[in-house]
Amino acid sequence: MSVLSTKVQGLLAEPGCGRNQAKSARERRAGCQNLLKPGAAAGGCAFDGAKIALQPITDVAHLVHGPIACEGNSWDNRHTGSSGPLLYRTGFTTDITALDVIQGGEKRLLRAIREIIESYDPPAVFVYQTCVTAMIGDDIEAVCQRASEQFARPVVPVNAPGFVGSKNLGNKLAGQALIDHVIGTREPAHTTPCDVVILGDYNVAGEFARVRPLLDALGIRVLASITGDGRYHDIACAHRARVSMVVCSKAMIHVARNMETRYGIPFFEGSFYGVSDMSDSLRQMSRLLVERGAPETLVARTEALIAREEARIGVRLEPYRAHLAGKRVLLVTGGVKSWSVVAALREIGMEIVATSVKKSTPEDKQRIQGIMGSDAPMIDDLPPRDMYRMLKEGRADILLSGGRSQFVALKAKVPWLDINQERHHAYAGYDGMVELVRQIHLTVNNPIWQQVRRCAPWDAAAPVRKAV
């Protein structure tokens, strides 16, 4: 456990995290783990976060070492897409018994790894630690090492048992597992001066398919995606990229930083959501690639592509303006970066009545303020009860949030759209923004809203009807 504690402390002190930079040294030592309030806590555990971050690697087996709760209650519940292998969607767990708790679960774990390799022959096995097995002292790092040697196959320990902290911490520990055990362990067949690594995109709803053609058109090759639609071999070769892009900064920034110091790969933070952010990301990527030896024409070609795409998207967005201008949005999200979405919705003429910034960094907050003006209504924490009241009082026309608050909105009879990881629609890239706007339009302007808000006949003042 002591190795893990050191790792956790190291990650909490991550200098690249915008949140941490704003804190005093003392606060920083306390870590960014919001101390959880028993009986009033919400959110997943570190194991959950680690699994979210790594499960998008599509060709490996993800084995959860623990009792049935950790995998049995949660598997197959996210919509990250694959363009090929499907093994990542198979749920593997040691499903430990009371006897394992007494005798230790290491033997069962080793046997489970063997069974997986024999029946499924994956390029690697990722082994996830959980609370009970950590508590009884199962040493998954040792078992994984033994298994790697015995079966001549990479077996990667992901040591993020739930009780060490939040989902966020789990994301980071997952990244750490890639740094410690995967990145830099193999060499690519060939490289190009336009090789990039994408960090922190999970290919939710297969949305990277909206971005890839743009990169293809510019001759930019994604050497490795960490981790959306990822492949083990590609990630093992990621250290040969020229540039890396961090999409969700909190989860993977330390991986980018590590690749910068270890392999000299510069990184930038960007986003695929929203027209202007998408364009900025392409611009930065080209510029950095050229600095690293890509042909200089890349910059001009990128500008041409951006101009073409923005013009095309402007035309596609136009028809929605009439339907959505003036509609009021309540935005509650930690996933898809708030500021990207805020900018996009403002572009189309929608009004943001408030945005929750619970999970946003000070930098994010500044950007939101820049976009919305100084009296931007940012709410730090919006408990379900208050959210319900706001919606019930008609102070917003739609709630954009994650699944957690879905029924707060629906029970208040207010339109709701999922913009977090469980969503089914692809919002990345230029066309993704059109899709988001189209979905908002379909949701806000659905004919059911008028009907469900009707009074029941026994509540309304009864009109006197005469039979004819």
Binding site: A46, C131, P384, G403, V408
Partner: protein
């Protein structure tokens, strides 16, 4: 008769089973103004929450004692106390149902002891019922957690009564009954003049309704006073073998005798129920049920063609398996593969050769030649790989609407199930015919081609 086996493999692949902790939590969700509280790290609660939200499409009250690595080692007393106080202050529940996770159990936490101390320290909690159930997730399965939670509710809350009310009965439904099933059962009992108290009652809390205001706890379900008063019932009707223990506990505590129905799906099973209700109420069977029985008989006559000789593969918790597998057999189908989650006395009597305590990969490897797969929504990947139709049954059902209202008990529920399963089987048969027709056509084309080529093809 079946042999019950458990494979000696180390890795569970595509789990069928869910933890007993959240089975217990679901039972508490059937109490009115209740907040279930999982004693463990926060992730267990988050997963349970997402699972129930996706299944019921409802906001789900579910809390955690938020144990960390440090508090686990130090002991969870403070966390349990803090959690109860926070819930009390924020949500004012009538009941807090505390379910332990594997983490708390591994540490050997004495939660009952904690509760005694908390009670003594906080007189303001006097009106709140605190019910603890021990449900380590490395033992048993979902239905075991439900069963134990109901047992504990009854032990803690039911009160012996000096008198019996002849009209009053208790219904103890297993975890495999949907809100729709429960409603059907209650209405049936009411039709015989009974006043039925259902414990726990998901048909009150998770039937999908729109409350007038925000509610931080469950909204609807069995009320505290109703549970306290269940000692006045003339008898208890328990559904599913898993409810034997709670029914026994209720009998011990209040003296109310019980009738246990292992299942209520199928003509004979529904007859048993109606017969009992008629006998105990002394009333004739209402015309409505006579007609429904006739409709079911007709549905069986119309539908049996679709079932005859068909091979069905089922994976479900023991009591759901014991409701559905015999019914398929009664319709003329053959149970070619059966997989379940945990031990139960009902398994050995199932109409198949072997019942495996296993996972969905076990079912997949045995179901290749089956006409119909029956399991919860996690069977979708398997169904796609095998190219076989999937009748979704059990929990979770996250990719179809209306799971809470699907009713498969009694005459009417069984009738609808005949139609639903029968239609899937017929569609499958039609598809096979179509593809056989394709082969036939291809064969003919090949023959006529060789005719045209003048090589003297044979005549079909």
């Amino acid at each position: 008769m079946a042999i019950v086996t458990r494979l000696s493999k180390a890795c569970t692949v595509n789990p069928l089973k869910m933890s007993q902790t959240i089975g217990a939590a679901l039972a508490f969700l059937g109490l009115d103004r209740c907040m279930p509280l999982l004693h463990g790290a926060q992730g267990c609660t988050a997963f349970g929450l997402v699972l129930f939200v996706r299944h019921f499409r409802e906001a789900i009250p579910l809390q955690t004692t938020a144990m960390s690595e440090v508090t686990t080692i130090m002991g969870g007393m403070d966390n349990v106390e803090q959690a109860i106080l926070n819930i009390y202050n924020r949500a004012h529940p009538a009941v807090i149902g505390i379910c332990s996770t594997g983490l708390a159990e591994t540490q050997g936490e004495d939660v009952e002891g904690f509760l005694r101390i908390i009670r003594a320290r906080h007189p303001e909690l006097a009106a709140v019922a605190l019910v603890f159930v021990s449900t380590p997730d490395y033992e048993g399965a979902f239905q075991d957690g439900w069963s134990q939670a109901v047992t504990r509710m009854v032990e803690e809350l039911a009160e012996p009564a000096g008198h019996r009310q002849p009209q009053r009965i208790n219904i103890l439904p297993g975890s495999h009954l949907t809100p729709g099933d429960i409603e059907e059962l209650r209405e049936t009992a009411e039709a015989f003049g009974f006043d039925a108290q259902v414990i726990p009652d998901l048909s009150g809390s998770l039937d999908g309704h729109v409350p007038e205001d925000f509610c931080p706890t469950t909204h609807g379900g069995a009320s505290l006073s109703a549970i306290r008063g269940c000692g006045t019932a003339t008898f208890t009707l328990a559904v599913g073998e898993q409810m034997r223990a709670p029914a026994e506990a209720l009998k011990r505590k209040t003296g109310v005798p019980y009738h246990l129905f292992p299942r209520l799906t199928g003509l004979a099973a529904a007859d048993d129920l109606i017969e009992l209700l008629s006998e105990r109420s002394g009333r004739p069977v209402p015309a409505k049920y006579r007609r429904q029985r006739s409709q079911l008989v007709d549905a069986m006559l119309d539908g049996h063609f679709a079932f005859a000789g068909k091979q069905v593969a089922i994976a479900a918790e023991p009591d759901l398996l014991a409701a559905v597998a015999p019914w398929f057999a009664e319709m003329g189908a053959k149970i070619a593969a059966a997989v379940t989650t945990t031990e139960s006395p009902v398994l050995a009597a199932l109409p198949t050769d072997e019942v495996l305590i296993g996972d969905l990969a076990d079912l997949e490897s045995r179901a290749g030649r089956c006409d119909l797969l029956v399991t919860h929504a996690h069977g979708r990947q398997m169904a796609a790989r095998l190219g076989r139709p999937l009748l979704r049954m059990g929990l979770p059902l996250f990719d179809r609407l209306g799971g809470a209202h699907r009713t498969i008990i009694g005459y009417r529920g069984t009738r609808d199930l005949v139609f639903e399963a029968g239609n899937m089987l017929s569609a499958q048969t039609e598809e096979q015919h179509a593809s056989r027709g394709d082969e036939h056509r291809k064969l003919q084309e090949a023959v006529s081609f060789s005719d045209a080529a003048g090589s003297g093809g044979q005549c079909l």
